[in-house]
Symmetry: C2
Subunit: 426 residues, 2 copies
């Protein structure tokens, strides 16, 4: 029986979940993995929280230094979130020769280079499956299963809060603000929901995943970002009529022209497997040149699903003691040879509200035509309030720059009131 | 740059696909993995096939012994299928100190114990991701990601041929025989389709997957098996009306009563993620006590998707040279303490054809009631040919033995013609 000492930094949702999984499965891991996994120490300012989980007071450490110098600790689990003090603690752990398992997407996305270098120098394991998409095995799929492929594209629903909100808006026809308030009450959204609803969380994860998929560091600063707060239930309803579902998508593409990375709301065809990924479920849809299409689906967050990924990493680390290989080493910055495409190609959904009906469609068509944009689907709805006429268009593929120019032209044409919504279509 | 010599045993669909992936990505693996992967030798009786792939004549080996004694070969890929001579060749490879990557589900399912023991004795790697569900990363998900979970259940669509046939039957309203013939022409079904349509292929895979999931050897002989040849388009249509889709499901459950493993056609609710897995796509839906629900979806067969899994294993093997850990070691037989449940619980779809209408429903209800079976949904259809009245019932959960007895009683009741179809409902 091999004894494995674990320390947990932070007993929030994920830290608490991890502690519970480890203690409840103690006999199971002995029997099936030959591992006696013992939580030897925790770092948590809120002593009551630690005690309420059943952790003995003697195991509550006073400092990271105390944990790093504890010879009983082999693996340090960092589930604090944020950059500091998590970064200093992880570096201290690695420099003390402890392997690290982390769920910290912001830290890993921003400082992977430094963390990996330090782990390598100290011959320690550094595992981060829990940083992206909770219990869904996507990191290891990229590093240990699909590494023989040139990955062409990645489409992900990788934020549970926004998927919950968009699903509820679609099902209930409710507004963003209403559903967000409900989500806060139910604990699906934070009091300050910006990290989720504005897309930052998805951007960090996409940076990590696309770096692995495309074998080149994709800094999060290169990722186009747009949140869901402008999405209205009117557009969700028109989209449905046209055969589309709205999702906050994390998109990575690797083409001959370069790498394209973006997080924004998008309409996706109702038949696409991602369209059925609802509520707080997440999924990543990958296309490789050999494997073709693969989708990995499950709970992207939560105490136990994320804890499952952490415990998976702990067992992997404990049973692969000579782990030194990393299939992709993040550099500090993007390879100078990598081109990031900003003027990407997409189809677009446009909802235009016109002051009166006569000639609007032909005027709009003419402006779109000026920029080489053609229409794939059109709905000219019945008159709205005060004679306003909604005109809904889905374009064929065009360029981001072209649509922006066309929208500006439509908005400045006096006979057309305004473009009320522009949503990309995948 | 580390040089890795590979030998491929068998240049059929998968062997040929693997060879193409390795040669086409040669520079990619050098750049991204620091590996110079060279196919040093092949074993293939059909010399023309080898030459047509561009393999030099000098690399076509005359025997397995020649490959085993070739010092340039590090990893032997076995993609011949079947038990012999594959088994002897794999054992010879391992005993010669070569690591083995195999896609052979029948071999692995039947002789995992002997192969694993031999690999361990010789300190060789033994990898079999390609044996189950092609390019979908399900083996490594079980061994390296979800191993912290007690896996409660597994539902899989793990045979592409049958899923293609059932999807076409549902979409076209065509008969099994018609679609099977079409599938043969298109290369989706073998000339002798029994291994697929009778469920043997799915049984082998379920044996491998459920052994890993439940941490105990699940011999394929313990798996209940029923193929799709009796499925009629009439039942598919009634199922649709009731909100169900038919799939050949591989089911593994781990309950307090024991382990339940079965492969048979089943109706599944149209809202279930597996219901949308169509054509030759495969998926495995796992439920763990921590991770909750996870679905892994993709191409379960084919030259390049299966080749992707093989190449993933080759790269993993080459970059993890100290690989000795196997999270689950198959024993030769099932643990004597393991109980396999044969009289499993399920809901059932029954289509009954009655000679006349009067009193049939109450008679059927009374027989079902005798065995404690209650009805969840009923369709009493319009009269069919020659006054026959189709009566379609979906029961609540009951036992396999109970439904069998009830069906026998219904069939022996003179006023009811016969039970025309019994299909389990998941």
């Amino acid at each position: 029986m091999k004894k494995v000492g674990v320390a947990i930094l932070g007993l929030g949702v994920v830290g608490g979940g991890t502690y519970k999984i480890l203690t409840e499965h103690s006999q199971f891991y002995k029997k099936n993995h030959g591992l006696e996994i013992v939580v030897e120490s925790v770092l948590e300012r809120n002593k009551e929280r630690a005690l309420s989980l059943g952790i003995e007071e003697s195991k509550i450490a006073g400092s990271i230094a105390e944990i790093c110098s504890n010879p009983e600790v082999d693996i340090i689990v960092e589930v604090m979130g944020g950059v500091e003090p998590a970064k200093s603690y992880v570096l201290a752990a690695l420099n003390a020769g402890k392997s690290v398992v982390t769920s910290n997407k912001e830290l890993y996305c921003k400082y992977s280079h430094e963390l990996e270098k330090t782990a390598k120098k100290n011959h320690c394991g550094l595992f981060y499956e829990a940083s992206c998409v909770g219990g869904v095995p996507v990191i290891r799929a990229l590093t240990d299963n699909l590494q023989g492929n040139v990955i062409k594209s990645m489409l992900g629903i990788i934020n549970g809060t926004t998927n919950y909100i968009l699903t509820k808006m679609a099902n209930a026809g409710a507004s963003y603000v209403e559903v967000l308030e409900e989500a806060k009450k139910l604990g699906y959204a934070e009091a300050n929901p910006s990290a989720d609803v504005d897309g930052y969380d998805a951007v960090y994860k996409l940076s990590i995943l696309s770096s692995l998929a495309f074998h080149t560091k994709v800094p999060y600063t290169e990722i186009y970002r747009e949140g869901i707060s402008e999405i209205s239930s009117v557009d969700i309803a028109y989209g449905k009529q046209l055969g589309y579902v709205i999702k906050l998508l994390a998109i990575g593409k690797n083409t001959e022209k370069g790498i394209e990375v973006r997080v924004h709301p998008a309409f996706i065809k109702v038949e696409h497997p991602l369209a059925s990924v609802n509520d707080s479920f997440n999924a990543v849809y990958l296309t490789g040149d050999s494997v073709e299409d693969v989708m990995l689906y499950g709970r992207g967050a939560g105490a136990k699903p994320t804890g499952s990924a952490i415990v998976g990493d702990i067992i992997y680390c404990a049973t692969h003691p000579n782990f030194v290989y990393s299939p992709f080493e993040n550099t500090e910055k993007a390879d100078p040879a990598t081109k990031f495409i900003k003027n990407f190609e997409s189809a677009y959904y446009l909802r235009i509200v016109a002051a009166d009906k006569a000639g609007v469609l032909s005027k709009v068509t003419s402006i779109l035509g000026k920029y080489g944009i053609s229409m794939a689907q059109v709905i000219q709805a019945k008159e709205g309030a005060e004679g306003a006429v909604p005109l809904v268009i889905i374009t064929h593929e065009t360029y981001e720059n072209s649509i922006n120019k066309a929208v500006a032209d439509i908005n400045s044409a006096s006979e057309i009131a305004k473009v009320a919504a522009v949503i990309r279509v995948v």
